[in-house]
Symmetry: C2
Subunit: 466 residues, 2 copies
């Protein structure tokens, strides 16, 4: 993912930069109103604080709120400190409700108490309510910028109400139909209202079987609903079926991305946890806890490898050359197994394959790893031939014979590791688990053991010692 390398539309930035350098402030402010807010926000972010404040003050309240919403959390906090409370409260009232609640939660208790008296009643209540929900729930990510109508209105009346209510509302693709206690009855799209005859009743176009999220629902489940039903936004209901907010598709993209990259950590044996924060904000001890379990368990299992080596001390003593290729044996097995597991986990999570396809998958991995094993075995043989000619061997054994033995062992290791790596996520999925927890470290540890068994078995059989 390269989204952090994204450059803003260069034309838009150049346009703003030129106007700013030529001192054409009036034209610049006009462009602020015309260009996408994200471009304006990024342009301002690089400017000194006085300029940012000067620019903001030239804009109307609504534009101030929109642009402020697109600032980084850091800059938002800096502006809170730089502006007097009254000016800040005025902008704050125009900021999108979910971003406003996040910012409020980023303030210290003292700062929150300082700010509250300056907010109007509606904003104050909204901020306090939105801040009350845990961040990993629908309530924690929802916003309150939605439009509502009543079922007994005509299309024309509904549109009139929206015209009256909606200027402050960002998203009016869906219009929510509620009763007088805000219990949600259904929804219509703005398109429905526009396409119908103005005298048609809302009730006639009402979509009663709508998809919704519960306010305590896990945010990942909310994102999945948005994805599954291709929604622009999903309504959030409380236990009394009252409409309390909406979650929009932008949030879903963010959550889905977070979830996809979480798989990465699982595969590396890092335990996911609910209260994960940004990397630098998370305490070292919390990071430690997330990693230690797998690391220590695998180190504990690693004793088996040690025991196998101990068992075959005799072979190792006679053929010290075998010890030289032991690390390569383990590493190649781990790499092949992890690659196979990753490809299978990814295909499972993108829905390209299903655990029912297991026979096809194992067959395919066998074919792929057979090709890989030929390359690795050839390389191993060449390495031994070129590099180990001076090694001492017991009488009666030629280096080329030993080379073949080691190469055959490593070829078997590659195929076995790929099959194990592909099979484990399929088994976990079949058992109802998350295939991504078949961490790469686990596979590495398993194929370390199988690899040593293969290595010493092949050696014992062909060299006649154990």
């Amino acid at each position: 993912m390269e989204e952090n390398n994204q450059t803003p539309e260069p034309e838009h930035q150049d346009l703003l930069q030129d106007l700013s350098e030529q001192g054409k402030t009036e034209e610049l402010v006009e462009m602020f109103e015309e260009l996408p807010t994200m471009d304006v926000a990024e342009f301002m972010e690089d400017k000194p604080m006085e300029d940012i404040i000067r620019y903001l003050k030239k804009l109307d309240m609504e534009d101030q709120g929109r642009i402020f919403s697109d600032f980084t959390h850091d800059l938002q906090l800096k502006l809170f400190k730089a502006l007097d409370r009254r000016t800040f409260a005025r902008i704050f009232g125009q900021v999108f409700s979910d971003i406003r609640a996040d910012l409020y939660q980023g303030l210290s208790k003292e700062e929150q108490i300082e700010l509250l008296p300056y907010l109007d009643k509606k904003t104050r209540e909204d901020v306090i309510i939105l801040s009350a929900y845990p961040p990993e729930t629908a309530g924690g990510i929802m916003n309150t910028d939605f439009a509502t109508i009543f079922a007994d209105m005509t299309a024309a009346e509904a549109l009139a109400k929206i015209r009256k209510d909606a200027p402050s509302t960002n998203m009016i693709y869906y219009i929510y139909v509620v009763d007088h206690s805000m219990v949600m009855k259904g929804l219509v799209t703005l398109k429905d209202l526009v396409m119908h005859d103005p005298t048609d009743k809302v009730l006639e176009m009402l979509n009663e079987f709508f998809v919704y999220a519960e306010v305590n629902e896990d945010r990942e489940s909310v994102a999945q609903k948005i994805e599954r039903y291709d929604l622009v936004a999903i309504p959030v209901l409380n236990s009394l079926s009252q409409l309390v907010g909406i979650v929009s598709h932008e949030e879903a993209i963010d959550i889905i991305k977070r979830e996809a990259t979480e798989d990465l950590e699982k595969i590396m044996g890092i335990m996911p946890s609910e209260d994960d924060d940004d990397y630098l904000l998370t305490s070292s001890f919390h990071h430690f806890k997330k990693r230690v379990v797998w690391l220590v368990s695998l180190a504990a299992v690693g004793i088996i490898s040690g025991m196998i080596i101990n068992e075959h001390q005799g072979v190792l003593e006679s053929f010290i050359i075998l010890a030289m290729y032991m690390p390569m044996m383990a590493a190649t097995g781990g790499n092949t197994g992890s690659q196979a597991a990753t490809v299978v986990i990814r295909a499972l999570s993108l829905g390209e394959i299903d655990d029912k396809d297991w026979a096809k998958i194992i067959f395919k991995e066998t074919k792929i790893s057979f090709m890989l094993s030929i390359c690795v075995a050839l390389l191993t043989y060449l390495k031994i031939a070129f590099l180990s000619f001076h090694s001492l061997l017991p009488e009666g054994f030629s280096m080329s014979y030993i080379g073949i033995i080691i190469s055959v062992a490593i070829a078997i290791q590659v195929v076995t590791s790929a099959v194990i790596g592909a099979a484990l996520p399929l088994i976990v999925r079949r058992l109802g688990g998350d295939p991504a927890v078949v961490a790469s470290p686990a596979i590495t540890t398993i194929v370390d053991i199988t690899g040593l068994l293969i290595y010493f078995t092949v050696a014992s059989l062909t060299l006649g010692i154990s």
Copy 2:
């Protein structure tokens, strides 16, 4: 990611199942019209082909198209084979344009030629044009279900044109303003049209600085624009600035997910390639090519480990116990390094950290790995104390002394590996590369080497042999 475990809304499925079992076909068909299409599509998918066809035929054309659009690609193809050409062509005309083009491309040349004469002219042209764009470009993922108006219309005239044109249009959140040669002049939202006075000109509310994609633009860049600007859909223009399609946010979610999981493969040393297809559809040889480069390169580098061991043959011969703990040394280093790299890569890709934070990150990883090293070293000492008491040691050396030496070496290895694992992605990012290519296999191979160096250095220094 668990999106494949997603169950459809259980209530909706139960509702349909009950009606179906009670043989209430009329009520069932009514529900088909009311419920979200995705739920209806999934309900039908489990039924025998005759039932699916029977159900579809009871629905009006538009609902047929919507539900068919949500069927799996497989079922769509089966229906193509099961239905007579004329019936299929009628449904096909109502299917969303991007899904229609994908299905058309899934047919054989003969089947395409068979189908074309049954399609109306508009559908035929649309399918052929959409199929012409490469799948990894904006053109390859766009649809043609958009609404257009002219700038000199009033809001009322614009709404009238939309009412006339739009019934076939899925997405009319944005209304595109074009001239008579389809050159795009700007856009208005449906909200703009509704909120303005009916006599206001479209020109007055026109958003001229809109974000757009070029038809040949890479689809990842298109998805990033949708994400960055929080768009519901993005217009796609050709080289003459003519509006040729739109890409909607659903596509963006799909692409972003694909991209995020691609990182996983990169980290495991699997080369991404442009023409990647589904796992089972990709040939084994193509899979092989994507994995072989890293695998063989790393196996080649692995020779260094072998050389280090060869160098210290003397120590190994005197203290065979050292050989027993070599695999654990390598595996623990690899695991720690990969974990650290993964956490850093993820934080980079989510924008939580920046390569400028390198000092803080390295300091943090040092602290975390220090805690990890204490746990691992303790475990190692206990293992040696309990399991190796019967090992033979040269005179003058106690098992507890050797235990301490091995534990110290492994503790150093854990800290070094974490720092190397965290530093590499940061260095690659600083050099302008993609941090995810610092594959876990590469880190494993590096810390194998540093681990052996640490191991034998500590052993030589403390045991007085080399």
